[in-house]
């Protein structure tokens, strides 16, 4: 940064805006006082205890985890075959098909959420879990298609042709050659999908019901009614979980690589 005063200043300002608010949340979580103020009054872990004993947060956490796991699995089950077809098959209108699967990234999430509310919950009388599962899976499909596609595009199709030429059945070729090539891509896509579903607000807000509400939506509700450090404690616990996921991502596939696939 030396000899670059303007760029350096802008970069520092950028980091401050990205990181400092997160530090404020963490520091207020450890307060001993009753209000969400800064500086915190005294030091204590009491709000972590209260957050973990607060039933609505815990049942919402369970709901969020269920939804994230099931929708990630469904998105991969539907998306990986699509990637295979796009990357390895000779299908007409390839870029059109790929565009269709990436389009949920462009259409505003509130539009998708309201659409599914009208068609699935009102029109077909389905539960909010079904509507959320469809909505989240739609939202995750671009990751499943794009991120796994990026890892497959790097692999040489000749390897698979060689396996076939040596007498392996198509199924055998898939399981012992193609799938291992896909594994890092599937892992990255799965990780991104899980996090995206877990953190989603717009869909989860529009498609919630009394029986099924995700954690971010429950926290938004809570902060409208009472403004106390319990919300900072719960946020800090989510931060800790996210740090663990980030470390796993960095140690396995590498951070920049995971995000490299989606950004194009």
């Amino acid at each position: 940064m030396r000899g670059r005063p303007v760029l350096g200043t802008l970069a520092v300002l950028g980091y401050i805006i990205m990181i400092v608010p997160i530090l404020f949340v963490v520091s207020t979580a450890f307060t001993a006082g009753d209000a969400l103020t800064f500086p915190p009054q005294g030091l204590s872990l009491r709000w972590f205890g209260e957050a973990l004993a607060y039933q609505p947060f815990i049942s919402a956490l369970v709901s969020s985890l269920q939804l994230a796991v099931v929708s990630t699995a469904l998105a991969l089950l539907l998306g990986v075959p699509v990637t295979l077809a796009i990357q390895r098959g000779k299908i007409p209108g390839k870029s059109l098909v790929e565009g269709l699967f990436l389009s949920p990234l462009v259409v505003p999430e509130l539009v998708v959420g309201l659409a599914l509310y009208q068609q699935i919950m009102i029109g077909l009388h389905q539960t909010s879990f079904v509507a959320l599962l469809v909505g989240h899976t739609v939202l995750l499909l671009p990751y499943a298609v794009r991120v796994t596609g990026a890892s497959l595009a790097l692999a040489d199709p000749a390897v698979e042709e060689a396996a076939r030429g040596l007498g392996a059945s198509p199924l055998r070729t898939f399981f012992s050659v193609t799938l291992p090539l896909l594994r890092p891509g599937i892992f990255s896509a799965g990780l991104l999908s899980f996090v995206t579903s877990f953190n989603n607000v717009p869909l989860s807000l529009l498609l919630q019901s009394r029986q099924f509400r995700t954690l971010p939506v429950t926290m938004l509700d809570y902060v409208q009614q009472s403004y106390d450090p319990m919300i900072a404690a719960m946020s800090t616990l989510i931060l800790a979980g996210t740090v663990v996921i980030a470390i796993v991502a960095e140690k396995t596939v590498g951070f920049a690589k995971i995000f490299g696939g989606i950004n194009k």
């Binding site: 940064m1 000899g3 760029l7 350096g8 802008l10 970069a11 950028g14 805006i17 990205m18 990181i19 400092v20 608010p21 997160i22 404020f24 949340v25 207020t28 969400l36 800064f38 500086p39 539907l78 075959p81 295979l84 077809a85 390895r88 098959g89 098909v97 269709l100 949920p104 462009v106 505003p108 509130l110 539009v111 998708v112 659409a115 599914l116 509310y117 068609q119 029109g123 469809v134 739609v138 499909l141 298609v145 198509p170 877990f198 953190n199 607000v201 717009p202 529009l206 971010p216 938004l220 403004y227 919300i231 989510i238 931060l239 991502a249 951070f255 920049a256 995000f259 950004n263 194009k264």
Partner: protein, 273 residues
Amino acid sequence: MSRKPALLLVPGLVFILFGFAIPSALMLLAPPSTPTADVFARLGAMLTDPYDLAIIWRTVRIGLIVTVACVLLGFPIAYLLARSTSRFAGMWLALAIFPLLLSNVVRTFGWLVILGSQGAIGQLLVILGVTDQPPQLLYTELAVVLGLIQLFLPLAVISCYSAVAQVDAGLDHAARGLGATKSQTLWKIVIPLSRPGILIAGTLVFAGATTAYTTPYLLGGSSQRMLSTQLFSYASVSVDWAAASATALIMTVLVFLVSGLSSLVSRKAGVTA
């Protein structure tokens, strides 16, 4: 793999058509028990009503400010990291990307602690004797803009980073060797060559900022309504399907217009380059 590829597509295609494309089209143009004409009548009314126009204009204005700010702050981070030889550069890049994994709700709560009436900035100003009462910082446009910059800056950093990293650092050295100053090298070599990535960064940030819900809801409140918060209130408070569809149409057209414009510009640049 001769005829099978088409079969592999079928489950995904069925899902995305019935779970996304058709419901979204119906929602925009033919919501339940609402004639399409009503949606367009409502759209026409919104485009002439001062209250609705103020919301549209606020959404576009905030989107533009946030986009410019994110590129202005994100490009320097990306450039310095891409050209850094420090062994900590990777760690700093990870720190810039990490917030993308963290919940928007958690990231936005921080501003409540900083800008709230009991918050850090207000208290500091009172202690310093600048004001008697903490100033109103929350539920202002500034709060929404700050919150959205925080949310979308990592996205700008990644897009700019992959663009700058593709520009051969040897070109920088060559330009410097031929007598260009540092800022000439930046403006004449690095920025023109990484323009496609900067364009992608701007498009992603604009699309995200104009459709984000959590930030305007938490930091803007009812005094700083944007299209997203307005859409939500039509959908779940007043249950006015025609108004919700009209608002959604405005939002969707805005995003598609900017994405289309950006790909047009980058294609044109690609042809002339």
